[in-house]
Symmetry: C2
Subunit: 316 residues, 2 copies
């Protein structure tokens, strides 16, 4: 059942011993939402604990170092930023069928919870939680503000992407007026800092980018042999797909990773107006308008040809 702020307030004010579930491969928004909500419940005198099937990445230590929460048998189950119980990883079997409240901003939300506070236009789950706290008149402490800012900033690409709402900017303005927080330091850790290995990997990756269709399409293909030669694993290429649309005239960028011999996992990115979800759909995949994916089989050349043909059919 979809609910509004009023019902969410009633629920939160009356809950006890809450476990807050974040999604697998946790990002700034679900971590910020989880730990931010934990602070809000704490203001209400309610114990809570933030859980995740994966470890929280090291760079979010400044949010998670307050501790995930006390150990207790939960009486309340809350999910944040989770559109589908399968994104709970190992926690799906434990809590998947008994989530009482879900707070989410994904249009694709499966409505799996008893009550769902869904705001599909919000830039981040953290934007919804900030507005909910304001609605409830609960004080947002400094740590909570850091959590919620981080979620909004990371999901909006530091206010760069389409999804950046006016409200996201207003909340950032309110926070900058109210809290003594080193926002620039948070942004540096979220958007600039990288390991030396990552920096060198990006440097190598730049050399893999090939232009097709007069530069409107860029493909960067990584075969198993190349990964061996580069000395990097399949997983290390996570997050490199956005580099494929950095060149000026590129409309569509594709990162092809050979997952197993002759099977390429392809991540599509759209620079602007091309809907790559449509293209991936043709190829048996799916996703969003600006970020989508599919799997293509064949040798490198034939797989590439399938991708080029599919893109050419849409953009030319």
């Amino acid at each position: 059942m979809f609910i509004g702020y009023g019902e969410a307030e009633t629920f939160l004010r009356n809950c006890e011993d809450a476990v807050i579930i974040t999604h697998q491969s946790p990002d700034g928004d679900c971590i910020g939402a989880g730990f931010g909500l934990k602070e809000i419940l704490s203001e209400l005198g309610i114990r809570s604990r933030v859980v995740c099937s994966d470890e929280f990445p090291h760079r979010y230590d400044f949010l998670t170092n307050v501790g995930a929460g006390e150990d207790f048998e939960p009486k309340t189950v809350i999910a944040v930023d989770i559109a589908d119980t399968k994104l709970m990883g190992g926690y799906k079997d434990i809590y998947g069928d008994r989530v009482q409240l879900c707070i989410d901003h994904h249009e694709s939300n499966k409505n799996y919870a008893e009550k769902t506070l869904l705001r599909p236009k919000a830039a981040a789950a953290c934007e919804i939680i900030y507005d909910l706290a304001k609605f409830m008149g609960v004080e947002i402490n400094r740590h909570c503000a850091m959590c919620l800012y981080t979620g909004i900033a990371t999901d909006s690409g530091c206010f760069r992407y389409d999804c950046t709402t006016p409200r996201a900017h207003e909340i950032a303005a309110e926070m900058k007026r109210s809290y003594d927080i080193n926002f620039a330091r948070i942004n540096r850790y979220m958007f600039e800092v990288k390991s030396r290995g990552r920096m060198l990997l990006e440097a190598k990756f730049a050399g893999l980018m090939e232009e097709y269709l007069g530069g409107r399409l860029v493909i960067a293909a990584v075969t198993q042999e190349m990964m061996g030669n580069l000395g990097v694993s399949f997983d290390e290429f996570e997050g490199l797909a956005p580099m494929t649309i950095q060149l000026e005239n590129t409309e569509v960028g594709i990162l092809m990773k050979e997952r197993e011999p002759g099977v390429f996992r392809c991540s599509f990115r759209s620079a602007d107006s091309v809907n790559v979800s449509d293209i991936c759909h043709i190829l048996g995949g799916g996703g969003h308008a600006k970020a989508a994916g599919c799997t293509v089989e064949g040798n490198l050349e034939s797989a590439k040809r399938k991708l080029i043909d599919a893109v050419a059919g849409v953009i030319s």
Copy 2:
């Protein structure tokens, strides 16, 4: 003389045939401020023309393609985002001593104009011009909003840097509520797009970064010989200094460029709390807390040693 919004309004409402000067090596803020102010003057029925001693870079075409303005003998001289007349380049001799109104956000402004509307805390000159237009009750048209957004976004590093004011966020929110503008496209062109040459240069540059003082200092040195081998010019290293503080533990980053044999131009960047202006001052240079510069002479090793010693004296 420093003035407020009221006096600036009186001046603008009563001026005629204005030339608007932007600074040399023009960036998003001075271009946005120049072309934004031109739109505002146009709303008031006043002719104006935007001038610059250098060509406007191609990526600002979406702002400048309305044309710089009509050709006339100027009766009014306005400078935007210019702290010192020497930044006018070739226009210093023509207009440097007869600027009637300067609109600027640099604390270092030399107060060279008859009247100066200075807001040193503003994130951008465009933030001041937006607030001035609101103060005056002049309509900000869509193109003007694009100009002013671009200036605010570029000078604040898309809302990432310390200098990002609450007001900068509020203005972005107001614009997103009021105008049908593809902000994500502007951000892509300002912050993501690069040429293939630049991408490959960055890739090569990543390999030049050396860590000192346990990784707290990074130095990337480019000698004349290396520039020859890389096939790039001194100027092409513009804008690479921020890469020197991308590694996680780096506090200070230095880009050394051998301008002539044995003479290194050094660009310092601070990741967070170290004041690199203080360090550069010791070495005979200067600048801002987070970005400063100096010139050091000697062979590569001795020049590097001077830099390492100076930094060690401050951060250890």
